[in-house]
Symmetry: C2
């Protein structure tokens, strides 16, 4: 995403330092992981980033925007994969999610952002557009690949398939989030394998 901070930027005088941007966003994530949302002070972030406090205020009007950008810049790494089978692709997506959520700074920043989103409809909308939707695209692409490979029934209602994808995405993202962010337990390859099995197959031992 690399949202450049809101700036008029008429490209006339001295341009804004891109290095400062990176330093600030890094410092924001670190500070958030250490002192939490409540303890996050602009002054401390500026000190840690090695910039003046006023520089920070000039670029980001509120904590929300700052943390939003700090998180978004860390979320560009998810990639669509085609490993040859639906199962392998799903496991890969889950592993990518897990890797993303494994960094303590990302954990704190994401959850703090989600918490703020419950109070700020506009922020929640930005979260959806910036974080959720791109991830959802990943799952959609994975399904399309599987269909192209002939792993899925071709005669399947298109409309309901779209809804299924939403549910599947919520399931994948939510399950990993819950395990790592709430319970704080690790997501191992073994766990990923079992989870994928549960997703693809009927409940073990269950006769429908």
């Amino acid at each position: 995403m690399a949202t450049p901070p809101p700036a008029p930027h008429r490209a006339k005088g001295r341009p804004r330092s891109a290095a400062a941007d990176r330093a600030i966003l890094d410092a924001t994530r670190e500070a958030l992981a250490e002192v939490g949302w409540g303890g996050l002070s602009i002054g401390q972030v500026a000190l840690r980033a090695g910039v003046a406090k006023t520089t920070l205020y000039r670029r980001w009007p509120s904590k929300n925007e700052l943390v939003m950008d700090a998180v978004a810049t860390q979320l560009e790494e998810l990639e669509v994969t085609d490993l040859g089978s639906l199962r392998a692709d799903i496991e890969d997506v889950v592993a990518q999610f897990a890797a993303l959520l494994s960094r303590p700074e990302t954990q704190a920043a994401l959850l703090a952002l989600f918490a703020e989103g419950t109070r700020d409809a506009q922020l929640r909308k930005r979260i959806r557009q910036t974080i959720v939707d791109p991830q959802k695209r990943l799952v959609r692409q994975g399904r399309a690949n599987a269909q192209a490979r002939g792993e899925l029934d071709p005669d399947c209602d298109e409309a309901s398939a779209a809804e299924e994808i939403d549910i599947i995405f919520d399931t994948i993202a939510g399950t990993v989030e819950h395990r790592m962010l709430v319970s704080g337990e690790p997501v191992t390859p073994d766990w990923i394998s079992r989870f994928t099995t549960l997703l693809l197959n009927p409940l073990p031992g269950f006769r429908a």
Copy 2:
């Protein structure tokens, strides 16, 4: 849980007002939903609860403890059900989760608590014991009921079954949390039905 605030309480002088406790916890949840974790000030909570600021400081040493109790007192309502079929039981559990997470005050308080948990190992442990484990028991009981009704294969490895339950719980809780708390989308009976279908059956159109 109804954790009484830490108090020596030698039962000699004037006892602590239980009404004040309730007022404080209610005010905490409301304030959290309005101003968020960062904006949550003890002074404001006291004002809203109609008690003196000093009274609050006497009972709860930190914001973490206060919010923890504020959330815990709202989470006692989940109940084990036996509606006669595994599918119905699962749908009921999902519906209970959804009802719990539908209140804006609970949403904000829970996510704020989770966010703090990423920085505070002790708090995370309390979250597990107070919130996660009781909910997990629900799923375990549901599975036991299904097994008693003969809905599950009797000859199923016990050890791996326990691990399956953990995964299933993470899946149920995480999916609902993600949809309601992150995306902010509603959990309707129709959605619950589709989600349960996905959980119990193989991926639609997928040939394993």
